[in-house]
């Protein structure tokens, strides 16, 4: 880890990270703010119940809106949280390595006594820092929003923190393979394309697997099926094994990234 490099990277990416974090919290608060009006109208719950079960499952609506936690899990963590973090994670992973190879500025970083491994480790730290900030903001911001905007809220705080933690770990894995792609490719655009494509496929597989029983096997080939906001909020998920699994996969992917970057020819 190189502190001067980390600081420079913070200068470049910091603004972006905090925009994503604030944006996510703002959206969260908006949803919390409209919750009371939706919870009161029994029509909304009836409407949801009238939708096909598969649609409810796919979009995380099956638990209805009786609790703010479930509402937030469905309306924010089910889709928007995931989309925001997909965009953030893929973009920053590619920008932290592949872009620097593509525009040859990596040549300058490597013309210092800081080794390739240290450079990659610094860039990984920047990615993890960004993810941590965004997920930290949504965890703390969400709880704050609920306590400010809802009268006498019923919320399982521990489950809510766990929800954000699993989200963080899930995107560590997304970051892990995006980073590996970033370290392996010379062309920034191709790297973005591949990392985005792979992530979109994973995301779509998860969605489709919930739509029909026949396709439910697909949940076994996508990491997004491990992130089940509503079930986590209900406390139906074994947090420890999933956390460990995600964490170890991410560590493995980052480890491979370091080895790949260390041993490859760089067209600088």
């Amino acid at each position: 880890m190189s502190m001067p490099l980390f600081k420079a990277m913070f200068k470049i990416h910091g603004k972006n990270i905090f925009s994503y974090a604030f944006g996510a919290v703002m959206y969260q608060w908006l949803i919390i703010w409209i919750y009371p009006s939706i919870a009161k109208s029994s029509g909304m719950n009836d409407l949801l119940k009238s939708m096909p079960a598969s649609i409810q499952r796919a979009f995380g609506l099956q638990s209805g809106f009786e609790k703010i936690g479930g509402f937030l899990a469905g309306e924010f963590y089910g889709l928007l949280f995931v989309l925001i973090l997909i965009i953030f994670t893929v973009m920053i992973s590619i920008q932290l390595i592949s872009r620097l190879i593509d525009n040859t500025s990596m040549a300058y970083l490597l013309s210092t006594p800081v080794s390739r491994s240290k450079i990659v480790i610094t860039q990984i730290s920047m990615l993890l820092f960004g993810l941590f900030v965004i997920c930290g903001f949504t965890a703390v911001g969400g709880l704050m929003g609920i306590s400010f905007l809802i009268k006498n809220p019923i919320i399982d705080e521990q489950a809510f923190i766990q929800l954000n933690l699993i989200g963080f770990l899930l995107f560590m894995v997304v970051g892990g393979y995006s980073f590996l792609i970033s370290c392996s490719m010379n062309d920034e655009k191709k790297a973005v394309g591949l990392a985005t494509g792979l992530t979109v496929v994973f995301f779509a597989l998860n969605l489709v697997s919930k739509l029909s029983e026949k396709l439910s096997w697909m949940k076994n080939i996508t990491i997004f099926s491990l992130f089940n906001p509503q079930e986590i909020m209900k406390g139906n998920v074994a947090i420890l094994p999933i956390s460990m699994g995600l964490f170890l996969s991410a560590v493995l992917l980052f480890g491979i990234s370091i080895v790949v970057f260390k041993n490859r020819d760089l067209p600088l």
Binding site: S2, P4, S111, S115
Partner: protein, 294 residues
């Protein structure tokens, strides 16, 4: 100080470097000349440890450039041929980043260089012209006062005045005992600064020459324009080596014996006198052409 020993790199398209042997002594300034695509930058990438040789080796100060890449950077300053900087920083922030990564304590050398090349370091990098970026790159390469300098086409993008400033900088560093390898296709700067020069073409070194020897051996060509036919006849009889006569202009080749030349032209009515300042260039053309025929 810098050794390339049978350095070979084969790329999948059949291009690459083939069995490059090169040795740069401590305190020597070495020119590396060749047309675009000849393999100059590829050679330099090996020295910086960016690519791994297929066979053979590159070493600096007895350290292997691939295995000890990070270690080597402690004594090396590098100016890349392609200039890409981190977007989102200004010149000074970029230099601070590099001096931090190089563990530099003092900014004295850096500030003196900035002063010397006269540019505004606070300009955001994406708003910089090519010449300005080149200046930032030069400062980055020289600012930690490295023992060895590896410069890939260092004057590209600089205006003639700044090229001069740069050549002076090289001569200064040379007098302080620095070892310098610079690639170029500018013959003039090589001639003014380098002790020896290697010429590379299609991935192979086709000649290594001592620049001082070369200059001594080189013929000078004078363009003498005289007043009338009688003068031309006189020059022909003077025993000078005349390579070409067109109208009243006579091309005279002189190798070492300048007094003879001066005495001979003193006897004729000279209207205009020019030297052709292309010695090395002509030599290189000669090399290139010979290779082409083969």
């Amino acid at each position: 100080m810098i050794t390339l020993d049978g350095l070979t790199k084969k790329f999948s398209n059949g291009k690459g470097l083939f069995n490059i042997d090169l040795y740069v002594k401590k305190g020597e300034v070495y020119g590396y000349l060749g047309p675009n695509g000849a393999g100059k930058s590829t050679t330099i990438r090996h020295l910086m440890g960016y690519i791994k040789p297929t066979s053979g080796s590159a070493t600096i100060n007895s350290l292997n450039c691939w295995r000890n890449a990070a270690e080597i950077q402690k004594i090396v300053g590098y100016l890349p041929g392609e200039i890409g900087f981190l977007e989102g920083l200004n010149g000074l922030e970029f230099l601070k980043l590099l001096s931090g990564m190089k563990n530099m304590k003092s900014t004295k050398v850096r500030d003196a260089l900035i002063e010397r090349f006269q540019f505004d370091v606070n300009t955001p990098i994406r708003k910089m012209s090519k010449g300005m970026k080149q200046k930032v790159g030069i400062v980055a390469a020289f600012m930690n006062d490295p023992e060895v300098l590896i410069l890939d086409e260092p004057t590209s993008g600089l205006d003639p005045l700044m090229q001069r400033v740069f050549i002076d900088l090289i001569l200064e560093e040379k007098s302080r005992g620095k070892t310098i390898l610079m690639s170029s296709h500018q013959f003039q700067e090589i001639e003014r600064t380098c002790d020896r020069v290697a010429i590379i073409k299609d991935g192979s070194i086709i000649a290594q020459e001592n620049v001082h020897e070369l200059q001594k051996k080189q013929k000078k060509v004078f363009e003498v324009t005289v007043a009338d036919e009688k003068d031309i006849q006189e020059l022909k009889n003077s025993g000078l080596s005349i390579s070409n006569i067109s109208g009243k202009q006579v091309l005279i080749e002189v190798a070492g014996d300048y007094n003879h030349f001066l005495r001979a032209i003193a006897n004729v009515n000279v209207v205009a006198l020019n030297t052709r300042n292309l010695e090395l260039e002509e030599l290189f053309m000669h090399f290139y052409e010979r290779k082409e025929v083969m």
